[in-house]
Subunit: 278 residues, 2 copies
């Protein structure tokens, strides 16, 4: 038996999350079902992060044991041929026999995206939380710094999620406005301006500029409790609205009381960016 490691990207909008559920389609079920005809038998797949319903991934990592001798590039092609277009295998690699995508993970990075303007771009609507009224990004960034380091994050854990320890380390938390507005380089269907042309009429196109009303919150940590990122973001948005001070975050954290933290931000804005291994 070999052990294989996959890197996956998915648009989580239409799924119940990574993990198999009775009530709908999961990424895990799709990947396991795509592997079954290759292996000619059942394959159990584990992932680094159990992304919730509606949460996306750019770099989820999954692992499984396989008897089949299929080449890695053929495996990627065969899986993508069977998976729906909103789930893609980006890469496959051989892994040490005892590799386990969740247990071996040393750090994960999540990104939360907030669209902070009255009107949401139709191209971003599945991948953002729409917060129409202006947020104080500097206050949010100051509040975020209080969360960096090793802490008991019980206040930001979904209620009814028993775990052995609620202590985790956040290596970094950053809050940024859309960096595409500060530089010349564009990306995404709605971010690049047309360059001024010397030919033809002189007026400029009446289209949106390259600056987008996007706030991105990146969190890199050694582990995350259930709903931890979304509960942190819901709390930071209350800071951005002036309903909490940046300084209050330390007391919220110390309280270990979920009722003291803010609401759970919607799943659509969350994406698992990547997973790190030793």
């Amino acid at each position: 038996m070999r052990t294989v490691r996959l890197t996956l990207a998915y648009d989580g909008t239409d799924f119940v999350g990574w993990q198999r559920q009775e009530n709908g389609l999961s990424i895990q079920q799709l990947v396991e079902e795509a592997l079954e005809p290759i292996e000619q038998g059942p394959v159990a797949v584990v992932a680094a992060g159990r992304t919730d319903a509606g949460v996306h991934a750019l770099g989820q990592v999954a692992s499984f044991r396989l008897a089949s001798a299929i080449a890695l590039d053929a495996l990627v092609r065969a899986l993508n041929a069977r998976l729906p277009a909103d789930v893609r295998v980006l890469a496959a690699a051989e892994a040490p026999a005892d590799f386990h995508a969740r247990i071996a993970a040393r750090a994960k990075t999540y990104r939360y995206r907030i669209w902070n303007a009255p009107v949401v771009s139709p191209f971003e609507r599945r991948y953002v939380w729409h917060v129409p009224h202006p947020l104080d990004v500097d206050a949010m960034a100051a509040a975020a710094r209080a969360l960096e380091g090793r802490h008991d994050f019980a206040a930001f854990q979904a209620t009814g999620s028993p775990v052995a320890s609620t202590t985790r380390t956040l290596f970094s938390v950053s809050v940024q406005t859309d960096p595409s507005s500060t530089g010349p380089s564009p990306a995404g269907v709605n971010s690049r301006p047309t360059r001024p042309s010397s030919a033809g009429v002189n007026s400029r196109p009446t289209h949106p500029s390259s600056s987008r009303p996007l706030i991105e919150i990146d969190l890199r940590g050694d582990g995350f409790l259930r709903h931890m990122v979304r509960n942190i973001v819901g709390t930071l948005v209350e800071v951005g609205q002036g309903r909490r001070t940046p300084e209050s975050l330390a007391a919220t954290l110390a309280s270990r009381d979920r009722a003291r933290a803010g609401p759970t931000a919607p799943a659509a804005g969350l994406v698992l960016v990547g997973v790190e291994y030793p």
Copy 2:
């Protein structure tokens, strides 16, 4: 009666195009139906470009006459409250009484996006043409230059589209690889790398880099024939595949023969970026 000018963005995936059709839902129908309760009567809306089924817009411009005295900001809010999330009104402005969004347009800019890699990002799948094998972008750019200027574009017009003249001016045609890979500034759900962190473990996240395998073709012109952009792009892709030379484009153009040009590129990759007025 006042004349109002709207700027609209839409994800065209689920529509039959701008113009009303018997066989499905159009953007025009949605906008007209959203205006009717405001006007308390029917409103006829015209747009600068009749985008085809599946074609997107970042900056479509539409105009109509209105008896209602509703304020412009209330109009934007009322329309967006009635329209589905894949169609958004970005702005509304008063226009001269005789303003007509199509007739008054002096230039339009279209962008065509090609995903040139074996695997398409799930987040881009609705907004690109997937061409898995590598394209020669320099050859495509050289070929594109032959199309700039005032020409008879009959070779690139959909067959069976009678128009008075097939002569149009392309002010500029550019072919570029994804500019997000050249600068520090990111945009889009899958383009920004996590910054290296000094805290925590040293290995880098196993996630896709900020460079995306995207080719963007921008065309700015005084008018476009039916399927003209998609037929040009289908021909340029054959140049990129080595099936035509860049030099052959001049003869294709001069032939005025649709059969000499390449296939029609899929609608999903096309977006109307903006419209210019005097």
